[in-house]
């Protein structure tokens, strides 16, 4: 099960955070800071899986942004690694650049892909259909 999904930049600022298991709000910032510290301290040729407390972190770096996913023992780490890439590709298709100004839309995309810690849909077109509908409704 996916415990949380984070996008953090190199300075430690959270760009997106989604928790699938309840974490107190003050603990969240601490968690995010520690997670980014762990990820930053790794070099490029080290593996992308870190053991942190009682779960594993799978992270991927895209330019100045880190996408970090926390999983427990039941998930296949490499599949989650692929999922991160899939997510970034979807974002890429919807926004012309991966810009975080439409945070609510990003959340909607994430909801279409991951529900309650499990993967729902990985096909790009099917994920984005409701969003296009939403856009059309919002325009009118």
């Amino acid at each position: 099960m996916i415990k949380f999904f984070l996008m953090v930049n190199k300075q430690g600022q959270t760009r997106l955070s989604r928790y699938y298991e309840h974490v107190e709000i003050n603990k969240r910032t601490m968690l995010e800071a520690e997670v980014i510290k762990n990820c930053l301290s790794r070099s490029k040729d080290q593996c992308s899986f870190i053991e942190y407390k009682d779960f594993k972190l799978v992270y991927r770096q895209y330019a100045a942004l880190f996408v970090v996913v926390g999983i427990d023992q039941t998930e296949n780490e490499m599949a989650v690694y692929e999922l991160i890439h899939n997510f970034v590709e979807v974002l890429d298709k919807y926004f012309s650049r991966v810009i975080m100004f439409n945070l609510d839309r990003v959340h909607i995309i994430l909801d279409e892909m991951v529900l309650n810690g499990c993967i729902v849909e990985t096909n790009r077109n099917r994920i984005l259909t409701p969003l296009f509908v939403l856009d059309k409704v919002a325009e009118s």
């Binding site: 040729d45 490499m78 499990c118």
Partner: protein, 811 residues
């Protein structure tokens, strides 16, 4: 009031803040604006405001005042409002807040809405944060949606059902009928989530698992998987050339659960697993992800051996891959399989050992754990070299674990005593401060057991602390050894190595510096003081110096040190006649666990296959408590009157002797040199005795009756403790009573010292003795006993067999 700013402007503004304080200011200003807007019940901009609130919440600022607004948004008819409302509900609310119950009605209505996207929203929210009450109320709706033909809704309903089952397990039955058709779908999203649902049901309830095995779920899954692999390029689900890897991984996981411990299911999936394992492309991460899952499945189910070998070879290939992720994953899997397929994993040992030198911390840890699991009698020398090198260079967080691991492995597989001692020395000198505290007494016990290496050991230890006495465990072990074997050190008797010339003064110098040094812990100082004291009997010229040192510490601030010094002083003054006896060499200590070194087992010359063990009683001593033991003796206890008198009974040398069962067996009686083992009370020796086992009368002849009472330990079920009680119903005492016992080869026996050697007449008293029997193979207990005693002026002797042991004593 001007229109509230849009979310994107807010984000832009906040990003321009250069300090935390600036950011906080901006946020507070915006929060105030949002709050007043909420108070005005402004419908048009509520959506925008809540979106901004969610952003601020993500940054870590409190946003609870927005919760009710989310509910209002959910109740609105506009899709955009609903969308933000539900998002807000998922992010801000959880079942701890009471407010969330208000959502139940809204969700119920939305689950039946005409627009599928609204229904989808409701399912999503319910699936993320529905509480048990909500789930109970709405489970019926979810189940209905699970059966619709709309694939968009079906997939969400499946995951929602997973959440419902997690919250309210009793409702699992309700979803069972709907699962029949789930796997017939073409839509991969639905397939994927259906597999997740089935997985959840199988994991939660063994009945469900049995049910699914019966309805031939496995062939269905196999068919789907086959289609995925064989179907060729499909643009919809393709990821780097592989068709829907996520679905493949999920199906493999479900197959694993279905095949575990079940032969039929495992058989049905053998082919497909072999196919996946051989056909999947390994050049990209995707392929490797699938292979990883396949390997885990193969190892978990009852697969045939050819398949298992294939799996381990795949892992071996992974290890050679350049990609770190794959190496990590391979090491983790090998660790899981090393218990069951030890030989296959051994083949990859050299690669694993190479991983010890990797830069990555996660990989190093895995490689270390795996290396320890692979050490065996054949490769111990080579592996130990690598592990010692690793210990030198690894990060501090690994050193404690690595040191403990090395000790354990060395103990189990040491090819020679000298090698063992060398290895221990190496660990102590390189990682001395990281060694765990419990390792010190174990090491000391090990050193006492290797009798012929004493001189070599003490010499090396002396040289080690000469340069540097800051590593506490090293100093503790060294002080103890110098105290015990200082005479060997000074007399330069070492055979293994070039003996060094050390004078008594030099030895005392080093011990005193340990005592004085600021780096020494209190425990270490205790060791050093006791060592100095022991040397008073072993050294000849420096006794006065020792006396002086001991008396100085009689006024030390450290209470423990002070107590020891005062007591040792007393030894010098009033009890000087007892000092040599008290400070004699320590006997060989028995290990508390029973996989002890084998050199203490003795065989006898009898034709009968019997093995008699006469290890000294488990003193389980920490040198730190030596002082107390010595003092107990001073108090003149009335225990076994056998402070070792016969010089041949020096237990340190008992190690090599052959014992004749029928010969002089005074040794069995005289090994209780220390009062820790108090046999007089026939009370239970273990705190955790099993239920009462009936006692038996083992021997009853000529007025001598011997009863056996039994105890079993819960901590070690192969050990039976027998307490014998010997009583005498004749009119004259029986004196010089000696009880001996022999057991078949598969057992091990240990006789502790008897309470006395005289059985008074007229049943007015008994002799009690404790026998410990180790019965690892749980065979029927049999015993042959021999009794010798003096009665009515003549020597009596009798042999008997005891066969009437109750089954509970050995089963």
């Amino acid at each position: 009031m001007p229109a509230p700013i849009r979310l994107r402007e807010l984000i832009r503004t906040i990003r321009t803040a250069r300090t935390q304080a600036e950011e906080r200011e901006m946020i507070q200003k915006e929060c105030a604006a949002i709050r007043s807007s909420f108070r005005e019940e402004d419908n048009t901009y509520r959506c925008r405001n809540v979106a901004k609130l969610l952003y601020m919440h993500m940054l870590g600022y409190p946003a609870h005042f927005g919760q009710l607004e989310c509910l209002k948004l959910i109740a609105s008819q506009k899709f955009t409002d609903k969308r933000i409302g539900y998002l807000g509900a998922m992010l801000l609310l959880d079942e701890r807040q009471d407010v969330h119950l208000l959502m139940t009605n809204c969700i119920k209505n939305d689950l039946n809405h005409s627009t599928q996207y609204v229904q989808g929203l409701a399912l999503c929210t319910l699936g993320c944060m529905g509480s048990s009450e909500m789930c109970r109320d709405l489970a019926g709706e979810v189940e209905k949606l699970l059966k619709t033909s709309n694939s968009y809704l079906r997939k969400k309903a499946a995951l929602c059902a997973v959440h419902v089952i997690r919250k309210v397990p009793e409702l699992m039955e309700m979803f069972l009928p709907a699962t029949k058709n789930l796997l017939n779908e073409k839509n991969h999203g639905v397939l994927h989530t259906s597999v997740v649902l089935l997985t959840e049901m199988c994991e939660r309830s063994p009945d469900m698992l049995a049910h699914f095995r019966k309805v031939s779920l496995v062939p269905q899954l196999v068919r789907i998987l086959k289609n995925l692999i064989m179907s060729g390029y499909s643009p919809e689900h393709d990821v780097s050339g592989i068709s829907d890897p996520f679905l493949q991984v999920r199906i493999l996981r479900l197959l694993r659960i279905l095949g575990r411990n079940d032969d039929d299911s495992s058989e049905a999936m053998n082919d497909i697993l072999a196919q996946v394992a051989t056909n999947t492309e390994t050049s990209k991460n995707v392929g490797n992800a699938i292979l990883y899952e396949t390997v885990l499945t193969i190892m978990d189910i009852k697969s045939e051996s050819g398949l298992r070998v294939l799996a381990i070879n795949i892992l071996g290939r992974f290890l050679l891959n350049n990609d770190k992720n794959i190496r990590y994953v391979a090491l983790t899997s090998l660790l899981k399989t090393v218990q069951t397929d030890h030989n296959a994993v051994q083949r990859h040992r050299s690669t694993i050992v190479d991983c010890l030198k990797d830069l990555d911390v996660s990989i190093k840890r895995r490689a270390m754990e795996l290396s320890f699991a692979l050490v065996n009698g054949n490769n111990v020398r080579g592996m130990m070299k690598e592990l010692l090198y690793f210990l030198d260079s690894c990060e501090p967080e690994f050193k404690a674990d690595c040191a403990s691991g090395i000790f354990l492995a060395a103990e189990k597989y040491a090819p020679s005593k000298r090698w063992h001692i060398d290895t221990i020395m190496r660990v102590l000198t390189t990682a001395g401060s990281y060694v765990r505290d419990d390792a010190v007494p174990n090491l000391i016990q090990l050193i006492t057991n290797s009798v012929e290496m004493h001189a070599y050991t003490v010499q090396r230890l002396y040289k080690a602390i000469l340069g540097d006495y800051s590593q506490q465990p090293l100093v503790q072990v060294a002080s103890w050894c110098i105290g015990e074997y200082g005479d060997l050190l000074v007399s330069g008797q070492c055979e293994e190595e070039e003996p060094i010339q050390v004078t008594e003064d030099e030895v005392l110098d080093i011990l005193e510096s340990v005592l004085i040094s600021n780096m020494s812990a209190s425990v270490t100082r205790g060791y050093a003081l006791t060592a100095i004291m022991k040397l008073s009997t072993r050294f000849t010229c420096t006794v006065n110096r020792i006396k002086k040192v001991v008396s100085i510490y009689g006024s030390s601030i450290d209470v423990e040190l002070q107590q020891r010094a005062v007591e040792y002083n007393a030894l010098f003054k009033k009890y000087d006649h007892m000092r040599p006896a008290l400070l004699e060499r320590m006997p060989v200590m028995e290990k508390v666990t029973t996989n002890g070194p084998t050199e203490i087992v003795q065989t006898n010359g009898e034709t009968e296959p019997a093995v008699l063990e006469t290890k000294p009683p488990p003193s389980g001593l920490q040198p730190a408590s030596q002082a107390n033991d010595l003092l107990d003796l001073l108090g003149g206890s009335d225990i076994t009157p056998v402070i070792p008198t016969a010089p041949t009974s020096k237990p340190a040398s008992a190690g090599g002797e052959l014992l004749d069962l029928l010969g002089d067996l005074n040794l069995t009686g005289e090994q209780a040199a220390f009062p820790k083992v108090h046999i007089l009370s026939a009370g239970p020796l273990f705190n955790d005795i099993a239920a009462g086992i009936p006692s038996i009368t083992a021997y009853n002849k000529n007025g001598l009756k011997i009863d056996f009472t039994f105890e079993r330990s819960n901590t070690n079920p192969s050990v039976t403790v027998i307490t014998i009680q010997a009583s005498n119903s004749t009119e004259l005492d029986m004196t010089d009573f000696v009880f001996q016992a022999a057991v078949p080869k598969t057992f091990q026996l240990q006789l502790l010292s008897p309470s006395s050697s005289v059985i008074p007449a007229f049943n007015s008293g008994t002799i009690t003795q404790v026998i410990k029997v180790l019965n690892p193979q749980k065979q029927q207990l049999r015993m042959r006993i021999k009794l010798t005693y003096n009665h009515k002026g003549s020597a009596m002797q009798d042999l008997a067999e005891v066969n009437n042991f109750p089954p509970q004593s050995w089963q």
